[in-house]
């Protein structure tokens, strides 16, 4: 939260926002560019199933840098953080509950298209 002080002598209000130094913005900017180059390079290395894990880890790190410094969450506490954490929590509910259903089903893939399911399913039900 911005600190707020009343100036009793003049009676007008003063808003004191945390001003982020240019050097901080520049370092975050350079870090984001390096991370972009890194994620592009790593994508072309064969890590098997780990490719997607590494790519998402780098993306989460980049997003965290943007949120903390460019979006000032590092300097804004309280309600801003409650809303952000709430949003991520609900996103987590949506993804976890959907995937816990999706990934624990037995899927039969019919490459022909859904119409290809009609005959086998009917045969299964009737005979």
């Amino acid at each position: 939260m911005a600190s707020h002080s009343q100036d009793p002598a003049h009676g007008h209000q003063q808003v004191e926002e945390h001003i982020v130094p240019v050097s901080t913005y520049l370092s975050i900017f350079v870090a984001l560019l390096i991370a972009t180059a890194l994620t592009t390079w790593i994508a072309f290395q064969d890590l098997g199933n780990w490719n997607v894990v590494v790519a998402l880890t780098i993306a989460v790190c980049k997003a965290t840098l943007v949120v903390l410094f460019f979006m000032h969450v590092k300097y804004n506490k309280g309600l801003t953080r409650v809303v952000l954490i709430g949003a991520l929590f609900w996103l987590g509910i949506m993804i976890t509950f959907t995937l816990s259903d999706e990934l624990t089903r037995h899927w039969e893939i019919y490459p022909q298209a859904w119409t290809g399911m009609i005959v086998p399913v009917m045969r299964h039900l009737l005979f």
Binding site: F29, F70, L99
Partner: protein, 220 residues
């Protein structure tokens, strides 16, 4: 309080300018929470279908050109930096020309992103018949995965399309901010419109930070 003593941009329903600033910021964060869930639905569907058809998503990703995705990521990161600098120049009480300069730079970078996307990616996909719509054809090299490769391309177009729509809205917001700045509305005390619009701009950048590896970088 006598009207003449009010700082610029101070609305009468608030106790202090700081309260007004906090309320505006909270409102924008709540809007961004709905945006997170809005885009989250697409990312979740993407996850489900990629887990079902990994091979098709691999083939689909090879249709896209990594260089354009990477360049556009860098362009958006630059635009986030210039946006942050425009807010900072207002906070530190710089002349309005400085604020306008950073805002115009941000808009130009946003426009560069859209230009690259429309001209070199979507138009190319349209010519190559990999854009959803009429003339959306199977390619022989996709084999039995062809329907799911098309589904990947649908994900690609809807996700990047929605993102591009947000960019266009963002450039519109920046135009309004530039107009406000040119009228000298922003001071070191009153810069809330710049800050909350910046939150939106950075959010759109974050969406792209996730879209880039998920759509372009499926190589293995």
């Amino acid at each position: 309080m006598v009207h003449g003593e009010n700082p610029t941009g101070f609305a009468h329903q608030f106790e202090t300018l700081e309260q007004q600033h906090d309320a505006g910021r909270l409102g924008m964060w709540i809007f961004l929470a709905t945006e997170i869930l809005f885009f989250g639905g697409m990312f979740m569907s993407y996850t489900v279908y990629r887990s079902l058809h990994p091979q098709a998503f691999l083939l689909g990703s090879h249709i896209l050109e990594v260089k354009f995705g990477a360049i556009n990521t860098a362009v958006l990161i630059c635009s986030s930096f210039t946006m942050a600098m425009s807010i900072r120049s207002a906070q530190t009480g710089k002349k309005k020309g400085t604020i306008i300069g950073w805002l115009i730079l941000t808009m130009l970078l946003g426009a560069t992103f859209l230009f690259l996307k429309f001209r070199f990616e979507w138009y190319h996909d349209y010519l190559e018949h990999t854009m959803p719509g009429f003339g959306f054809f199977y390619r022989p090299e996709w084999g039995t995965h062809a329907p799911q490769v098309q589904m990947f391309m649908c994900f690609y177009f809807f996700m990047t399309g929605l993102h591009a729509l947000h960019m266009i809205v963002g450039i519109g917001v920046l135009l309004v901010l530039t107009w406000m700045a040119s009228r000298g509305r922003f001071t070191s005390q009153y810069f809330a419109p710049l800050e909350i619009s910046g939150l939106y701009w950075h959010f759109v950048d974050i969406v792209w930070i996730f879209l880039f590896p998920l759509l372009y970088l499926i190589r293995y």
